[in-house]
């Protein structure tokens, strides 16, 4: 009968001695740090309309997990609700893990805020388990984390419970609880069954009159296994302080970013590009060895006088070494000298990959990846000749004036078809936009407004008064500095546009369409008694 049951995992005889450190309310700590809020802010993290976590200040007001956001706001009127972002927790916990990894190897992140370390090595190195725990306290305190709890026991389960049991300790002693080896079963004995987090098993055991882990551990292991199967047997082992789980240390991720320091500082761009080229090659090679490619990176340049220029660069495919050097160069060149605002030599260049993707997702096909690869190489060549902003793709956005309706995106800044990455939030072209131009769109839209003159049959300039009435019908017009005088064949207007009258930057103007005798059509603007050519239907 027993032989029919699946085998239990090996290594059950000895539980791994585990040091578990716990930063309570890590999501709150992460959010406070990210948004630079003071620690006493009543803060609640909201996940799907319910409070996911709340700060101690909010808890004092009666906010607790699972409360609806409106109810929580009623209880704590100063409550700051923020959306819960799991990735933020992981991102902000990463430096903590890295810091602990520098003092003791083999850290397992159970979840952001809770980490397990094998206690054997550190305790021997630092002299004792409590000494090792004190080193962790000191390291984390240096990072500004003061509320840290540590439990040391046999196995991760008992160690976690020990870390949580530090709540019972006084506030002025260090929050450390060491359960001596072999005493974990005794420590866990008084805990209720609920901490096993196995609801079905808990209900069943309670009906059998078993109410604590101690009672459960007192049962014979073979009986538990026969009655409750493998899950029950594992839970029984946890309750007996013989945790089947061990600490699985993570492999620290490779350092993908690259830094180059220059001494003496470099003042010329070509010098910098040359000096950085080999480093850029190493950067790309490191990524490739890790099986990754970088599709977005962050370049920061530091100068001798302490200025810094930071920018994020995207790539339509992925960066190779030349592309990285080009981005550094463009960031330095900008469109003019004031763009990067650096006045002294460059001492430090840092390139941090922001988005890395699996190399296999970007691998070339057997017969190449088609024409788009060639397109990209050709355009990258033109960009390296003329600068990043010289090669553009265009998007039609919303707006009344034609110049507002076209938005240029430098090639590579936003992948084709993805409009969110544009520098300016795009206006939706599907909105009604009253006052926009009816009929076919003109083929020439002047990037710079071209001055024009419109006169009536007596030679007086045509104008529109405050009530929007025309002074006289237009009879002749000329466009541009050397444009000849055209007789008006037909015309329409004025079409008033009153954009954002509440805003000083808003514009009040009138639009006219004019067709001359030869059949060419023009779109003219009258703004502040001056005529401009907006567009030509050529």
């Amino acid at each position: 009968m027993t032989s029919a049951l699946p085998a239990l995992p090996a290594g059950s005889a000895h539980a791994t001695r585990t040091l578990m450190f716990w930063c309570p309310d890590w999501p709150i700590t992460a959010a406070l740090r990210e948004h630079a809020l003071p620690a006493e802010t009543p803060l609640a993290l909201v996940d799907r309309g319910e409070v996911f976590a709340c700060s101690p200040a909010a808890r004092q007001d009666g906010v607790k997990r699972g409360l609806r956001i409106r109810e929580a706001q009623a209880r704590s009127t100063n409550l700051v609700p923020l959306p819960y972002d799991p990735s933020l927790d992981e991102r902000t916990f990463e430096p903590v893990t890295t810091a602990v990894e520098t003092i003791m190897p083999g850290v397992q992140v159970v979840r952001p805020g809770l980490c397990a370390v094998r206690a054997k090595g550190p305790s021997r190195y630092y002299g004792s388990e409590s000494e090792a725990a004190r080193v962790v306290f000191r390291t984390l305190a240096a990072m500004g984390l003061t509320d840290v709890r540590i439990g040391i026991a046999d196995g991760p389960f008992a160690a976690e419970q020990a870390a949580k049991a530090t709540d019972q300790l006084d506030d002025d002693v260090e929050q450390l609880l060491v359960i001596p080896a072999g005493r974990s079963a005794w420590f866990l004995g008084s805990y209720p069954l609920e901490i096993l987090e196995q609801p079905k098993l808990t209900v069943l055991l309670k009906r059998l009159g078993i109410r604590s882990l101690g009672d459960f551990a007192a049962l014979r292991a073979s009986d538990v296994r026969n009655r409750f199967g493998i899950e029950g047997a594992l839970a029984h082992r946890q309750a007996s302080g013989l945790d089947h789980r061990s600490v699985v240390a993570r492999t620290p991720p490779p350092h993908l970013d690259t830094v180059a320091d220059f001494e003496p500082p470099l003042a010329r761009i070509d010098q910098l590009a040359f000096a950085f080229r080999s480093r850029a090659g190493e950067f790309v090679d490191t990524l490739r060895e890790a099986g990754l490619v970088c599709t977005a990176l962050h370049v920061s340049l530091h100068t001798e006088s302490g200025e810094a220029s930071e920018r994020r660069w995207q790539h339509p495919r992925w960066f190779d070494a030349d592309d990285v050097v080009d981005r550094v160069r463009w960031q330095l060149q900008g469109t003019n000298a004031s763009d990067h605002g650096l006045t002294s030599g460059i001492t430090r260049v840092q390139v941090v990959p922001e988005i890395v993707e699996n190399l296999s997702d970007h691998a070339d096909g057997l017969w190449g990846t088609g024409p788009d690869e060639g397109i990209h190489h050709g355009l990258a060549r033109v960009q390296s000749m003329l600068g990043h902003g010289a090669v553009l793709t265009a998007i039609v956005a919303g707006g009344r004036l034609l110049a507002d309706r076209r938005v240029f995106v430098p090639w590579g800044d936003a992948p084709a078809g993805q409009q969110q990455a544009a520098a300016v939030p795009l206006k939706d072209r599907n909105q009604p936009w009253p006052g926009r131009l009816p009929g076919p769109a003109p083929a020439t839209v002047h990037a710079e407004p071209v001055p024009a003159v419109v006169v009536d049959s007596r030679g007086n300039t045509v104008d529109v008064d405050a009530r929007g009435l025309l002074s006289a019908d237009p009879a002749f017009f000329s466009t541009g500095p050397d444009g000849g005088r055209h007789a008006v064949h037909s015309w329409a207007g004025p079409w008033p546009i009153n954009e954002r009258w509440w805003d000083r930057k808003g514009r009040v103007l009138d639009r006219f369409q004019l067709v001359d005798q030869s059949g060419s059509a023009w779109l003219l603007l009258l703004e502040d008694h001056a005529w401009w050519v907006e567009a030509g239907y050529d």
């Binding site: 050709g378 033109v382 076209r406 090639w411 009929g439 839209v445 037909s490 067709v515 030869s518």
Partner: protein, 223 residues
């Protein structure tokens, strides 16, 4: 013409323009000048763009992308280089390598050797070059000879539709013309009756230069 050999490939062209272009459409490796109309140049770009070709516009900061979209040009495959500065030739040559059709402002001056090299590159890559502004070295010159807008009165209405007489001149002096509406160029045919009529000057009885009125293409066909 050497450019229009039998084995030269043809790029997709808007039907209204295909009948007046030599060889029945845009030839890959060909060069075309458009005298006075950005709309006409857009119509030439629209054919290849609709079939997924990449297009490029060099040195035209006033190019209206909204109108281009109206002509059916795919903006995701349209590359704009508004200001190539002094490197016009290098940029144009680099883009001829990768895109199917290049629209650019006619260069101020281009040495015959440079033009020959660009031309060779065009033929090798199978791309077509369209220049805005007259340029003698091109295979064919297109232009709007006459134009009339409908929809506008004196102070009323708005521009709705346009009818144009489009001429195509070859360096040999052969001239063809067609009457088209703006909607024909945008690839939305207006209905059953053929809106355009093309003829060659060599056809018997056909008047040579267009002194006739613009809205009577039937008159031209019957004669």
């Amino acid at each position: 013409m050497q450019a229009v050999t039998l084995d030269s490939r043809r790029l997709p062209t808007v039907p209204a323009l295909a009948r007046i272009l030599p060889g029945g459409g845009l030839q890959s490796g060909g060069s075309y000048a458009v005298r006075n109309s950005t709309s006409l140049a857009m119509a030439l770009l629209a054919g290849p763009s609709a079939t997924g070709a990449w297009c490029s516009v060099i040195g035209l900061p006033d190019f209206s992308v909204e109108a281009a979209q109206g002509f059916g040009i795919n903006l995701e495959r349209l590359i704009l280089v508004p200001d190539p500065g002094s490197q016009w030739l290098t940029v144009t040559a680099a883009l001829v390598d990768v895109v199917s059709i290049v629209l650019t402002r006619a260069p101020e001056h281009l040495a015959p050797t440079e033009w020959a090299r660009l031309k060779a590159r065009l033929r090798q890559r199978g791309a077509a070059l369209i220049t805005l502004g007259s340029w003698k070295q091109s295979d064919s010159t297109l232009g709007v000879a006459e134009s009339a807008w409908e929809g506008l009165g004196s102070g009323t209405g708005h521009l709705r539709s346009r009818r144009m007489k489009i001429t195509a001149t070859q360096p040999s002096g052969r001239l063809r013309h067609a009457y088209v509406g703006l909607a024909d160029l945008q690839g939305t045919p207006t209905g059953g009756s053929a809106p355009s009529a093309a003829y060659t000057p060599g056809a018997p009885g056909a008047p040579d230069s267009g002194t006739h009125t613009l809205f009577e293409p039937q008159l031209v066909r019957s004669s």
